[in-house]
Amino acid sequence: MNRRIDVSLTVNGEKVSRSVDTRTHLIDFLRSELGLTGAHTACEHGVCGACTVRVDGDAVRGCLVMAASLDGAVVETIEGLSDTGEIRDLQAAFVARNASQCGYCTPGMLVSAADILKHAPNASRDDIREHISGNYCRCTGYQAIVDAIDDVLKARRESEAA
């Protein structure tokens, strides 16, 4: 079997073609090959969520995805989500609420939070807590993060209603 695989994929809207080492997970690929250092590795065994990015629209653990398996995939990272403005309100709420301290978990946390905005617009505070449970934050105590997501859900619901 091959230990290098050619893949062509779309990352943050840009076409990318690379020959990747099969032992490379998506986060190392993004960070070392593409210079996208927004997503972080913190455990590399799928527990902490710092590496959460989107693949084909779904939030996934980047450390549990083989880069070699991503031919044809659509990958979005915090850099891409920042460029498109999709979560600008969420990012602003994180700043306003100080929902980020050291910031290491923040990109992954935001990708998970974006998932709530997309799939659970009526999420309660408990729902939010449950949904972001796979994303460790060691600094904030989570409350500001819950507040920020809650703020954005409410604001989006209000603007929908208006």
Partner: protein, 291 residues
């Protein structure tokens, strides 16, 4: 740790898979969702010569229903189980179980076939399919075979899968009006592997009599543990506080839990008994529940 060096091949049909398995040799492993397998690679606990990616085999996907059974393709993700209307209707246990598995990002990749093939003793889905009396559909170059879920699991991370064979689907008998299904577990934190868990499937007749009962524990042994004595204690009885207590007492013969970081066997035995009562009490007639 970084993953070991290994090969990779992707196949898009079962025929392609058989060819790839032949070419790769016995040290290769099959990659479905990868949410457990890839994590073990980062401890270098397993060092496969290569991974054969089956995630694009169309015939392993999809959920359909026949008269008697719900067929769930092996590549069905936990997230799909949680939101699929057919699963919710015909196998509500699986819809209840899915949100208990790890966290959303894991559920977006992890598959039912992968979970069953791994046979983690603390995992929810093996216990669920055993409780449901499901059939595991296996395939190899020589064709398909069907194995009762209770025969499929052979122990700690061990199944009936032969080399060169994969899980292609799970067939679950559809729920009837008499079906009662529930899953309960004790975890330190939401999404953790359970300290103890129970998948319970009962058939309760209109008069409150238990026609059938399968209590299957997880996280308390080497796999999906069928509580034979406890289940037998309920069958043919009226479901009541007394029969639940009898089932709880019968559990002592059913389980032989190992120690783990949470505590010793006695802790797990105790929790199993608590879960048994918690699982069954909601199925009591309303008058009994109030008491």
């Amino acid at each position: 740790m970084k993953w070991p060096a290994m090969g990779y091949a992707r196949v898009d049909s079962l025929d392609g898979l058989w060819r790839a398995l032949d070419a790769a040799g016995p040290e290769a492993q099959i990659l479905a969702g990868g949410q457990s397998l890839l994590a073990t690679l980062s401890f270098r606990l397993s060092e496969p010569s290569g991974l054969i990616d089956i995630t694009r085999i169309a015939s392993l996907k999809g959920i359909g229903v026949t008269e008697a059974a719900l067929r769930i393709g092996a590549l069905t993700r936990h997230a799909d189980l949680a939101r699929d209307p057919l699963v919710a209707r015909h196998a509500p246990l699986l819809a209840q179980a899915a949100p208990l598995i790890a966290h959303p990002a894991i559920r977006n990749r992890g598959t039912i076939g992968g979970s069953l093939a791994l046979a983690d003793p603390a995992a929810e889905l093996p216990a669920c399919v055993v409780a449901l009396g499901a059939t595991i559909v296996l395939a190899s170059r020589s064709g398909e075979r069907r194995v009762a879920a209770s025969d499929f699991f052979k122990g700690l991370f061990t199944t009936d899968l032969e080399p060169g064979e994969i899980v292609v689907a799970v067939e679950v008998p559809v729920a009837t009006a008499a079906s009662r299904q529930t899953i309960v577990e004790v975890t330190r934190r939401s999404g953790d592997y359970a300290m103890a868990g129970l998948a319970a499937v009962l058939s309760i007749q209109a008069d409150g009599g238990v026609a059938d009962c399968r209590l299957v524990f997880f996280g308390v042994g080497s796999g999906a543990e069928i509580a034979q004595a406890a289940s037998a204690a309920l069958i043919g009885q009226q479901l009541s506080d007394a029969s639940i207590a009898a089932a709880k007492a019968a559990l002592a013969d059913d389980l032989d839990p190992p120690s783990d970081l949470h505590g010793g066997p006695e802790l797990k035995r105790h929790l199993a008994g608590v879960l048994l009562a918690r699982a069954l009490r909601p199925f009591l007639a309303r008058s009994e529940q109030a008491a």
